[in-house]
Symmetry: C2
Subunit: 538 residues, 2 copies
């Protein structure tokens, strides 16, 4: 009852004129189809039966590479988990009635007892993923051999993920199968991110790790950690412990250095970068609990309130230099996100010292003042040999940005902004399409899926400056109880747009593949919500 | 960042013209304020400190009543849990710095070591909640005495819930407090329900029980179990086991008689009725996997498909009589919900036997045919001495309904329908306002809260026929991972509208109280989502 809207979606997807409800799931999941879709994949009907207890990965090179060794163990366990997930009842009934009926199936070509993992390049256990990392890999499963090949550990990680997704539970419910398949794969975009805000609501570590697992299952490679904001400051600084002592929601809702290290490491071994955001000069109210001197004391009818950081004070830059220096050590990624969005000028305008300062510095308007501030913060980051990402306002306000600064486009309509940013020669990442806090009643992953980052006016050289994009989970309305189901599988839509080829746009095909992918995530412990209507996980 | 819509909501709620972000939660939760709001409550500043380890309920009468005894144990445990939920860090710091500073507070009037539970009426351990049950109770906490009083066990249950909600964690983080308070309370409506659909997605028992807990915390008293539908038939029938054997999604996704008994009992001891829905003649596709003979075999361009139940066949009524007979034993409630919504006439129209049958029975249109069918099902239920609830279509199609049949209004606009149903002398429950599958990006509990069931044209005698309402969680887009956070606290808005006085409409006041209530539910193990923006649970 009561799914007229959903029915309409169904009709559009199915492409037929009348729809009669059927027993069973609305969309029948694919079997062994990867998400995101590989660049090229040839799959044959011939299949192996894979018995987890008699299957192993054979590491061809770099057998002592810890990253590789751990990844192989992880995927061995994921594959075993797939078999364990099969309902014991079904296994029993199936063993009784259909015992090994595949033995007489012409497509059955034997048991797969191993797959070679061939990392042809070098491995350094301290390797950290970066914007330039190569993630391409190939998989060849022939009647004679199964191999996952890449020149980099990051490619191997992606290949293992895809390999694990090729394995499926057969209709007999007792055997796992994998078809002979040939895949050559690489990401369309280098920057495929998910932003998670941990200031509006604190997200416990356990859920952060579950989310990183899901990112790996979707081949996302950047965890953009919007760690602090107006409401709370959960980042524990060794240098300025008072920031979280006074600015966190409560003493237990903080991320200690040890916890952050754990998160960074958990992400790293999955080929995921962690880029922390310390948004300034706006969105800094929680900094001011311990350090009110760095915020603008508003005057006029705002007297008593605090506004954005005070750009006229040396204390502001001293605190930022000290903190960002520490941040660049805590987070090994080359990039730090500096924010720069939604700066409210009213409070600056109401402060007499700031007016005086502007006169002295020959700054004529508040956009100019913001530029002055951001410029100094970027210089701090530059001095740390770090690179920066900023929200689009910083670009729009005309701040002179270092070549490698990335502009993150989040407002709508975004086409014009993407065009302008890339025309100016800056690199861009897109988020406008993928705001996960914007909800629709039914299956809104389709809306996220229909976004094409190249859909703006610009020449080829401009398109090349699009590094990718990020889905954003602002946490005003999510806490530990709904964050995972709110993000997944909606962020999966963005993940496929950012990995797969531009012509992968078939919603109907994707619908069936996403059914499988959600069940895959569920089985692996990720509490994703249903994607497209009634169903169950077989 | 990025919460312009939320900010607008905030502005509306706060009622001021400009808003500057503050550190900490957007809305500061109340302390010890019940949800739903009692009919009358006088609360004084004088307070007791309550130490769970030295607190007990003293049962004045009916000490051997199991329902009462179990309830007292349950609330003893909930109260202890409140203290245990306080962060150990905070307790430690607080003990160090603020040790018992309340001792010098004039409002401190001592330690509360007991509360009398006074069930003045009789108790029968087999009591089952009903539409006519009395739920009124009073609470008096004076400097001399604390007492929860009711003439019924159901009133005592509601009183214990309210009493437990009056207790709050003081600002010192180490003491629990309860203010001297006088409450006289009763529900505005007798029927305060939540519908949960377990056919579109199977919901495991654990989540069903978590949901019943939450219902008790919100004083909802009817669990409308939409147990089967087109997609799956998880109800295990002793008489017709093939229905779930073939119609469930899979063998493990069923509700066995033992499990249903467990759910009914879990609900009963919390004063919650369980009303099962067996929706016919539409929404029955899953019945037809094992019993295709009871469905209409479509003809014409629908050939090969099955439509609604076939009203022309005796087999249909035989199966229904057999099954509903069993259902009325499995579920002790007086009512069975018979559905009757969204019947598709195209398939009936395409079936020659049905045309013949209609001619024979002198039925001139398909509304008439539906009426014929529903009439016979209602007669079956009547013969079982059960009463029925039907969706509004049944009323609209002019079926002659027994006096006690309730009409559930679910379509919009609902005002006209409520007016018509009550004008005809039928009782009504309203759901149109509270469709939990309809999502908005931000805090849409307010939308649910703004619904007033009496907002239709009608005289007093019509208003009296409004028995209450139900929030509805259709499960197309919820599974075990998001069902609880999707329902709670959005259903809490409906719960307050259905319990509290008509003039309880102050969104601003409710916002602060709901902040507390969500944290209360979270602490008690209900994974409710944040209600209204940034925050945390103290």
């Amino acid at each position: 009852m009561k799914f007229s809207q959903l029915t309409i979606v169904a009709l559009v997807l199915i492409g037929c004129e009348s729809y009669i409800e059927k027993p069973g799931p609305r969309y029948v999941a694919t079997k062994g189809e990867p998400w995101p879709k590989p660049q090229t994949q040839i799959k044959n009907d011939a299949y192996f039966v894979l018995r987890p207890q008699f299957f192993e990965f054979q590491v061809k090179n770099n057998a002592k590479c810890t990253l590789l060794h751990d990844a192989v163990l992880r995927y061995q366990s994921i594959i075993s988990g797939l078999y364990e997930s099969v309902d014991e009842n079904l296994k029993f009934v199936s063993h009784q009635h259909h015992k090994k009926e595949w033995l007489s199936d012409n497509n059955f070509i034997g048991h797969l007892e191993s797959a070679v993992v061939n990392l042809s390049g070098s491995c350094d256990d301290n390797d950290y993923p970066s914007q330039d990392m190569k993630e391409n890999y190939s998989i060849n499963i022939t009647p004679d051999n199964a191999e996952i090949q890449s020149s980099t550990i990051w490619g191997i990680l992606r290949g293992l993920e895809t390999f694990s997704q090729l394995i499926y539970i057969a209709d007999d419910y007792v055997s796992l199968r994998i078809n002979t398949t040939s895949i050559s794969d690489y990401p369309r975009f280098a920057h495929r991110g998910l932003l998670l805000d941990t200031s509006r609501h604190f997200i416990p570590v356990k859920k952060m790790l579950e989310n990183l697992d899901a990112m790996a299952y979707n081949k996302l490679n950047v965890f953009h950690w919007h760690i602090v904001d107006d409401q709370s400051f959960p980042y524990v600084s060794r240098k300025y412990p008072e920031l979280s002592e006074q600015g966190a929601y409560k003493p237990s809702q903080v991320y200690t250095p040890a916890v952050m290290q754990q998160i960074v490491e958990y992400a790293r071994v999955r080929g995921i970068r962690v880029i922390p955001e310390f948004d300034t000069p706006g969105h800094t109210r929680s900094w001011g609990v311990a350090h009110p001197e760095v915020l603008t004391a508003c005057g006029g009818n705002l007297a008593g309130e605090y506004g954005p950081m005070d750009p006229s004070k040396v204390e502001t830059y001293n605190l930022l230099a000290g903190l960002l220096g520490e941040v660049s050590e805590t987070f090994p990624d080359q990039y730090i996100h500096l924010g720069g969005d939604e700066v409210d000028f009213d409070c600056w305008e109401s402060n007499a010292n700031i007016s005086k300062f502007m006169k002295k510095e020959n700054i004529t308007d508040y956009k100019g003042l913001e530029s002055y501030f951001v410029q100094r913060v970027i210089n701090i980051v530059d001095a740390l040999k770090a690179k920066s990402i900023v929200w689009e306002e910083v670009f729009e306000n005309g701040v002179k940005l270092p070549t490698e600064t990335i502009v993150q486009v989040w407002k709508g309509p975004w086409e014009q902004t993407m065009s302008e940013v890339t025309l100016s020669g800056k690199t861009a990442i897109l988020s406008s399409c993928w705001y996960l806090d914007h909800l629709d009643s039914y299956g809104d992953w389709q809306k996220f899926y229909n976004c094409e980052p190249y859909n703006f006016t610009g020449v080829d050289s401009q398109k090349k400056l699009v590094l990718g994009g990020e889905a954003c989970m602002w946490a005003e309305v999510v806490n530990e109880f709904n964050v995972i189901s709110r993000v997944w599988p909606r962020a999966s839509a963005a993940a496929e747009k950012l990995w797969s080829a531009e012509n992968v746009t078939d919603i109907k095909e994707a619908t069936l593949r996403l059914e499988e992918h959600v069940c895959r995530m569920n089985r692996r412990g990720v509490g994703a919500q249903p994607p497209s209507g009634p169903g169950f996980c077989p």
